[in-house]
């Protein structure tokens, strides 16, 4: 039976296989070139201690291909779910051919298992191959980018989990809705929703994030303060407002290649006074009316600073230090990359299994 379904599926599988082969050729050629470029530009410049120009040149190499590949890896699971998963059972229902299939000498569970086995294997294999090729191709670029979390969704293991999930989602939607087109649309929507939900709420909390409290440094340049002042004709009730100041974690902040989850600014008492370096929700730093002292909202006032005009950078920094304003960083360190990849892949594989189980259940008890 499996052989028959393979035979039935072979056209689709061969088309995808052909596309992957063509892509492999393109990636092999450009990839070797990219590695060469890496050796030439980046390795060379590191010895010369000035890399910005070289790295810039390197990262823009094949930039269109870079975008295309990232899109391809992210889109492939959705396409698999929509075009392989959704029609698998829905088309049989829609065209009534399930009546033919379910009255042969195999139980409908075995029938579904064979169909799922063939198309599911092709789905997982093709997404694995695509991810493998793209990950290999991007290796030099990812090395330079240095943050593996920035391309988490499009590398290594997770695309395989996404593909398995999308496929089973499509099959289940098809079995439930019994019509191909609605099944395709709802597969696409549900897949997007689940992916975004996992990205936003699940992945950051899979492992308890590490926290680090660091002293703050202001990066609010005087120029920016000045421009705010110049443009501001003092709107609002506080004529002394000078602009939000940008704070940034100081020395010993975020470890290299870590994934920053949150950045809270706290005052001496440990209360949160701002997020992501913005203090006071937009209006953060105040010149005391009358020209004496600098107030940082939520943290206190530095009376010793006499500011006839604008506070200078060092003055603001001194105030920040005096008020003991710090940053609390929550992050996932780089060495958790593989754990997170594994966990997220496992989650999607489990979801896929659950959906497959539901499909078996629906098929069993389907009446009508």
């Amino acid at each position: 039976m499996t052989r028959f379904f393979w035979h039935e599926f072979r056209t689709a599988a061969l088309v995808v296989g052909g596309l992957l082969t063509a892509l492999a050729v393109v990636l092999a050629v450009t990839g070797v070139n990219l590695t060469h470029l890496y050796d030439l530009l980046v390795v060379d410049c590191r010895s010369a201690h000035d890399c910005s120009i070289a790295v810039g040149r390197f990262l823009t190499a094949d930039s269109q291909l870079q975008v295309a590949l990232d899109v391809a890896v992210v889109a492939a699971p959705a396409l698999i779910g929509v075009f392989w998963g959704a029609p698998l059972v829905a088309r049989e229902m829609e065209r009534q051919t399930f009546v033919l299939a379910w009255t042969q000498s195999v139980t409908r569970s075995r029938w579904l298992a064979a169909k799922l086995g063939v198309a599911g294997t092709c789905s997982v294999l093709s997404s694995a191959l695509l991810s493998l090729m793209v990950t290999w191709w991007f290796r030099p670029i990812d090395l330079v980018n240095a943050n593996p979390f920035s391309s988490f969704d499009a590398r290594d293991l997770v695309p395989i989990g996404y593909a398995a999930f999308a496929f089973c989602l499509g099959v289940a939607a098809g079995a439930l809705l019994r019509r191909t087109l609605p099944a395709m649309v709802s597969t696409l929507l549900a897949f997007a929703v689940v992916r975004v939900a996992v990205l936003e709420w699940v992945r950051p909390n899979l492992l308890a994030p590490l926290h680090r409290t660091v002293a703050n440094a202001t990066i609010a340049s005087l120029a920016s303060l000045g421009s705010a002042r110049a443009s501001g004709t003092s709107p609002g009730p506080n004529p002394g407002s000078i602009t939000p100041a940008q704070l940034t974690p100081g020395q010993g902040g975020l470890p290299p290649s870590a994934w920053l989850l949150s950045d809270r600014t706290i005052n001496a008492a440990g209360q949160t006074i701002g997020h992501n370096g913005l203090v006071g929700g937009g209006v953060s730093m105040w010149k005391v009316p009358g020209g004496h002292g600098l107030t940082i909202q939520g943290a206190g006032t530095c009376p010793g600073i006499s500011v006839p005009g604008l506070p200078s950078g060092p003055e603001v920094q001194a105030c920040v230090n005096a008020l003991h304003i710090r940053d609390v960083l929550a992050f996932q360190p780089a060495d958790r990359y593989w754990t997170l990849q594994g966990l997220e892949t496992a989650i999607f594989l489990l979801l896929a299994l659950a959906l497959a189980g539901l499909t078996f259940y629906w098929i069993q008890r389907r009446a009508g």
Partner: protein, 298 residues
């Protein structure tokens, strides 16, 4: 005796819609049985229950002595051709044979190939491009080549033109003769099936109106024509199925076990089609008289 199909108080609800209500019937093996009834009598539902495509809401059903579980062994004993003869539109005839071969351990490849040759199907032809008659023949081939003991056909000839109909029935009868199959086929018309069936079940609104071997049914029914009688006028021991009267004359359809000797009555045999129609009309009348017959307690 082993029964091809046996149901007891069988009912099927779709949500709140009743498709089959309290159906009790028996069809023995070794027959080509016609399940006849008007559209909406529950024939398709009954047949789908028999092949396990549906599960009953209430009651019991046994096919070839077993409940139509979805087990592979039970499925292998049944051949089914659904009303719309669903086929995989994009698949060729040859692909369908491969489909049958790979989903049926008892597949008779030689038989399938021979039948395809006999019907004159082009193996490379897509199923979607076949004529109605060819589709039906291909569906029948799939059902027969799995070597079932019981073949169930839902309205097999309703949508075929007379020539295709004849060819289909020829192939069917040849298979029955060759393999000793039992067959149950449904139809809302009996005239097509008169020569192929030897067992009849009349089903109207889920109720069996009449069941039995066709020869003995025809032997036990007579059409009587005579002067319009008073209430005393009928010979004893006869069940009147239908009576029509003019001013002077009455025509009666009676079910009788003995000969009718009353010289006042002209006695004729009745054809199968007239017999079926009379029973359908009777069922229609009784349904109209008792409103409870059409609605069933939940």
């Amino acid at each position: 005796m082993r029964c091809a199909l046996e149901t007891q108080g069988l009912a099927k609800l779709y949500g709140h819609r009743l498709a089959l209500a309290d159906c009790t019937l028996t069809i023995p093996t070794g027959h080509v049985a016609a399940l006849v009834g008007p559209n909406g009598a529950g024939k398709t539902t009954l047949l789908h229950l028999a092949v396990g495509l549906l599960a009953p809401t209430r009651g019991a059903i046994r096919v070839l002595g077993e409940s139509p579980a979805r087990g592979a062994r039970q499925l292998a004993q049944l051949g089914f051709v659904a009303q719309e003869t669903p086929l995989y539109e994009d698949m060729s005839v040859a692909d369908h044979l491969r489909f049958g071969g790979s989903l049926n351990p008892s597949w008779d490849r030689e038989l399938a190939e021979r039948r395809v040759d006999q019907i004159g199907l082009d193996r490379a032809q897509r199923a979607g491009a076949l004529s109605g008659g060819q589709r039906a023949q291909l569906a029948l081939t799939l059902a027969i080549a799995k070597r079932p003991q019981l073949l169930i056909l839902d309205e097999p000839v309703a949508r075929l033109d007379p020539l295709a109909r004849r060819e289909f029935l020829q192939q069917l009868m040849e298979a029955v003769a060759e393999q000793g199959l039992s067959v149950i086929l449904s139809s809302h018309l009996v005239s097509d099936l008169e020569r192929v069936c030897d067992y009849l079940v009349i089903l109207v609104s889920s109720r069996v109106q009449l069941a039995g071997e066709i020869d003995s049914l025809l032997d036990s029914h007579r059409q009587l024509t005579g002067p319009r009688p008073g209430p005393w006028g009928l010979p004893e021991g006869q069940e009147v199925i239908e009576a029509t009267h003019t001013d002077r004359q009455s025509t009666l359809l009676v079910r009788t076990d003995g000969p009718i000797l009353d010289p006042n009555w002209g006695v004729d045999r009745i054809g199968l089609e007239d017999l079926v129609l009379a029973y359908m009309r009777r069922a229609g009348r009784s349904a109209a008289h008792s409103p409870m017959a059409s609605t069933v307690d939940p």
